[in-house]
């Protein structure tokens, strides 16, 4: 599978939020304004990209040779937790500006389903290292796209509030549902038509 196909698959066809429901909590929680949505999106993209590579190395370098595949879940979540902590410390030291922008979102990412999800999907689909990295970045970009669109919808919704019972979370879910409906236009025929499948 070539890299453009992987990118298209995880950004549009299998969008992590709108099709696979991975990372729904931050999607609903942090999408109230577009600035924090962009911050969260970039932080997730960064972590999914790095975590894909690290988890791939842990699985094929350590677990598979030792016959410990069943420890995949437990080792991936620990690797991700440690990684997020490390990224936070490195960013704080090396780039205070970036840390300021992404810092508050990083602790939330450990329990973001999207990160563990992509690490497990990479192994399930037996991607190689480069493909895993591409899939990780693409999954993050798909998340970013969805959360930015959502924050724009919610910002403009503040001007025309819904009925009282629908305000807040319910209308957010319904908007996400309508967005998911439009994302259904992207399916595997996209790849066939572009001669990528």
């Amino acid at each position: 599978m070539n890299y453009i196909a992987i990118l298209l698959t995880y950004i549009f066809i299998n969008n992590f939020i709108l099709v696979k429901f991975l990372g729904l909590c931050p999607f609903i929680g942090v999408s109230k304004n577009s600035e924090s949505a962009i911050g969260m999106g970039l932080a997730v993209t960064f972590v999914t990209g790095v975590a894909s590579v690290v988890c791939w190395c842990v699985y094929y370098g350590l677990l598979l040779p030792l016959g410990l595949e069943y420890l995949k879940t437990i080792s991936f979540i620990l690797v991700i937790a440690a990684l997020v902590q490390l990224v936070e410390m490195v960013l704080k030291k090396m780039s205070p500006a970036l840390y300021k922008a992404l810092g508050i979102y990083l602790p939330l990412i450990t329990t973001n389903c999207a990160v563990l999800g992509i690490a497990i999907i990479n192994v399930d689909k037996s991607y190689n290292l480069m493909e895993s990295f591409t899939a990780g970045v693409a999954a993050g970009l798909g998340f970013t796209l969805a959360i930015i669109l959502m924050s724009n919808i919610r910002e403009s919704m503040e001007l025309k509030p819904a009925r009282k019972a629908f305000r807040g979370v319910p209308i957010a879910f319904i908007s996400a549902g309508l967005m998911a409906l439009s994302f259904m236009a992207f399916d595997n025929s996209l790849l066939t038509n572009l001669h990528l499948a």
Binding site: L18, V19, K20, F21, L22, G23, L24, C25, I28, Y70, L71, K72, T73, I74, I77, L78, A81, T110, T111, N112, C113, L116, G117, I120, I121, D124, K164, A165, F166, V169, P170, I171, A172, F173, I174, A176, G177, L178, M179, A180, L181, M184
Partner: protein
């Protein structure tokens, strides 16, 4: 006391409809009733044992590294669930796919560990876990029932003996509302259900207030 810990998770603090935790599996696996029930059973098992263990270990876990410790405990039980499902119900294992290992990051479990089991005794924690687990399972089953009945006109249960475990609903089976089984249907349904529960709470509060007013006037 204990019965209160047990029942609060089912209605008053229902993890899905009231606290809105653990949304990813809620929406992803509710296309068939059997998947929802299995997911609920898996979560109930992990929640029960992680709550018991964390409650037992609460005096030995240092505060600063408690979250990683909780995650290790939870991940161990998730691995057990994964292996059991893989061995005994391979069809369900395949249907749940990536969402089964993702029980690790289900906010309900870590949330209960942090908010309840790390502060309370073993028995109360176990009751809390059972209540929350049942509340989660009921919510999932409820959503799955709506989605499957409307979306494909069937109710898929466990196959027993010669019966394949599928109940077919006459008219809906022929003309199903396909969107309900799709991703967008799940999000739309969740939005409407949440709005419905909001409306119920608002109405009962209004009633209570007017009752209070009447009482004061009388």
């Amino acid at each position: 006391m204990n019965t209160k810990e047990l029942t609060k998770g089912i209605f008053k603090e229902n993890p899905t409809f009231v606290i809105m935790l653990g949304m990813c599996p809620t929406l992803a696996v509710t296309t068939q009733v059997i998947n929802a029930v299995s997911m609920g059973a898996g979560v109930l098992f992990v929640l029960l044992f992680s709550n018991i263990f964390i409650s037992l270990l609460k005096n030995y876990i240092p505060g600063s590294v408690r979250i990683p410790c909780y995650v290790v405990v939870i991940a161990s039980f998730v691995t057990i669930v994964e292996m059991v499902f893989h061995a005994y119900v391979p069809a369900v294992y395949n249907a749940l796919g990536v969402y089964l290992p993702l029980i690790v990051v289900n906010c309900i479990i870590l949330g209960r560990a942090e908010a309840f089991a790390s502060k309370n005794g073993v028995l109360d924690s176990a009751f809390d876990a059972i209540g929350m687990g049942i509340g989660f399972t009921l919510a999932l089953t409820f959503i799955a029932l709506i989605r499957e009945v409307l979306g494909s006109g069937t109710i898929t249960l466990m196959p027993i003996g010669s019966w394949d475990g599928v109940v077919t609903i006459p008219l809906l089976n022929k003309w199903p509302v396909r969107v309900m089984t799709l991703a967008s249907g799940a999000l739309l349904l969740m939005g409407y259900l949440k709005a419905f529960f909001n409306w119920k709470t608002m109405r009962s509060e209004k009633k209570r207030k007017s009752a209070l007013k009447e009482g004061a006037a009388a």
